[in-house]
Subunit: 402 residues, 2 copies
């Protein structure tokens, strides 16, 4: 790493403003390393995610600085030598500790707070993204708005909205606010903006997820709206302060919108709208997906109809329908809790999972001595719970369980 890693005292000083005061010493280096990681990588970097999950952020960072991953570490993280080499190539141009300091200082000046996994306000829902979960979150506004005490719905749609779409977004935003549901969206013009505005107007709570740093209002025309969102809810990004909203970061931002909503509803979307990307993330996460139909003669509804036809989205015509979607997720989670914890088969599956290594379903079945279909069902329930995480490489157990 270019320039020396700061000493303990300096790290504590840099972290204090973004952590709302003193940071316990053992946490400080881990948090600083997570910030370093968020500076190094683009959002959703699965190799980085696996290294950090498998080795912890500090050890993972040392491997990058040393450009060396020994066999046992590679095994624990489930990262191949080729993946590590490619990762180093991606990350090394940003390997400068001054960038980390700049990110922290910029955030401090803008009164932006930093959340890391394990914080009480950390939104557990994003952990469903597995290796693609954010490493940290930068928050402008209220940390508690993120904690997920309230049910939340992702309400998204096209920038090129029609009067019809904006009307629906307005109705839904206002009614959801009235029912105590947090509205998650992307602060874009069109549907997103209307959803935020209507929620605020009805005295509700709303979260705006940005593709760039939260110190840079985007779009600029929504600077005022973003300020209002932050005053009661939160404006959130995984990209450090100063970061530009690139095309890639928009796509990855969409996964956070989908992850933070217990359900996603697309209000209006063209045939190739970015909202379909958000919808795709919701589907991948196994979150209920709804689409609001519109006239078949309206290009602004073509994407919604595509979701109904091709992605098996639920047809959503009212906030009652949205609540039903939401109920599907929440009751799933509640049922599991009410049942009083894991069954004996759940325990066998959890025993067969590793906290560090990703294991394929067949492997989990072998280790647990259960059938593959049975294991798949149990893993599905455990992932709803947040107890098991899924990745394209397989499954692993979250560190906090059992």
């Amino acid at each position: 790493m270019k320039h020396e890693f700061p000493n303990g005292r300096e790290i504590l000083a840099r972290l204090a403003p973004v952590r709302g005061g003193g940071v316990p010493d053992p946490d400080a280096r881990r948090i600083f390393a997570l910030v370093a990681w968020s500076v190094l990588v683009e959002p959703g970097d699965g190799v980085a995610g696996r290294l950090v999950a498998g080795l912890g952020p500090e050890e993972a960072l040392q491997c990058v600085v040393a450009r060396r991953l020994d066999a046992s570490a590679a095994d624990a993280a489930g990262v191949t030598p080729a993946e590590f080499t490619a990762g180093i190539a991606r990350w090394s141009p940003r390997l400068d500790v001054r960038e980390v300091a700049t990110a922290l200082d910029t955030a401090a000046r803008a009164r932006i707070r930093l959340l890391v996994p394990g914080d009480p306000e950390w939104p557990a829902l994003v952990d469903d993204l597995g290796a693609h979960a954010p490493l940290c979150l930068w928050v402008r506004g209220n940390l508690t708005a993120l904690a997920g005490a309230e049910p939340a719905v992702a309400l998204v749609g096209a920038r090129a909205a029609t009067g019809y779409g904006e009307h629906v977004a307005m109705e839904f935003g206002a009614e959801l606010a009235g029912r105590g549901v947090t509205v998650v969206s992307g602060a874009a013009y069109g549907i997103d903006g209307m959803a935020h505005r209507a929620t605020l107007a009805a005295g509700g709570r709303t979260l705006a997820l940005l593709a760039g740093g939260v110190d840079r209002p985007y779009p600029a025309g929504h600077a005022n709206l973003l300020e209002r969102i932050a005053s009661s809810g939160a404006v959130v990004s995984e990209v450090p302060c100063g970061g530009a909203p690139t095309k890639w970061r928009f796509l990855m931002r969409n996964r956070l919108i989908a992850a933070l909503g217990s359900a996603t509803v697309v209000v209006e979307a063209g045939w190739r709208s970015g909202s379909l990307n958000t919808a795709g993330h919701a589907a991948t996460l196994g979150r209920p997906l709804g689409a609001v139909p519109g006239p078949v003669t309206s290009a602004a509804s073509a994407g919604c109809h595509r979701l109904l036809r091709e992605f098996d989205a639920r047809c959503v015509t009212s906030v009652d329908d949205v609540m039903e979607l939401l109920g599907a997720t929440l009751s799933g989670r509640l049922d599991a809790r009410e049942a009083g914890g894991p069954t004996s088969d759940d325990t066998r599956v959890l025993d067969a999972l590793s906290v560090r290594a990703w294991r394929e379903t067949a492997d989990v079945a072998r280790r647990s001595g259960l059938g593959i279909a049975e294991v798949e069902g149990i893993l599905g329930v455990l992932s709803l719970d947040g107890t098991a995480l899924r990745d394209e490489r397989g499954w692993r157990r979250t560190a906090t369980t059992m």
Copy 2:
């Protein structure tokens, strides 16, 4: 029966005009009996359907006249004594042979033709209705339009249509005509009328199914339209000439619309629209069901959205989508034909079916020596084919197979 059954010569004379000329003697009494049945019963009378299928129309009619069903006949028809007694109570007020003569004479004067099962122009699709299939059909227009040489789509919707719905019905009707698809509908104001009109304007073929006799244009305001439909397609009813379009007959007429379309598409429908009844029949028949979405703010689309939400209808936005629905049915039938007829398991299942008695799936499984799930799958394929018929009482084989 009040008044004597006419003699052979009189039957031949009465039938000739509605049958397009001479009627072979052995057929004449069967056809006359079917007309008598269609005068006796309301559409969709399942007990009548089972008696006629099980005993043949003449023997079944004799049982009604004699008010007596012996045990072997009851068994062959699958009709209980209580059902027969209730049937007699329903039918006996109409047991007057003069009504049959009147129905035939009225039809003859209006140049209306009579189709019965077994006629080359008889639409095989209606036999999927099993015991609820029509006993005969009265046709104003071209008999060949009914034969099902062309693929057909039921295009239906609310009388209280909006400009949007009428626009969609017009586009769909015209495009389906252009692709050689027959459009089946109910000649009502609103969506139905627009579907017929657009099909005719594009030079296509359309069928109108009426709830009352085809000699009574209904609604009266569509007299001209019905005449135009008859000139290239056909106006059809199972209710004899002179019959009034009652509420019940509308509901039963809807089952014929659904049965005559290889797929049903609802263009616009209110929350309690009669089109949902047609959609329900299509679903019961296992025919693909589509619904055209519209603005969630439009009451005229609420029924379509209900179909999307509650009945798993496909979201249909264009005629390409309709063709896809249609393809699902047609390719199913073609696959079966291309496969070169029944497999050996198909034959075992057909052997286990009776032409007369309805048998439950478990019984068919026992008789064929195959598993219940296997038998269910095979019966599904055979019913697509029209080889096996399903009823709430079970399954039977069509008389013409094997």
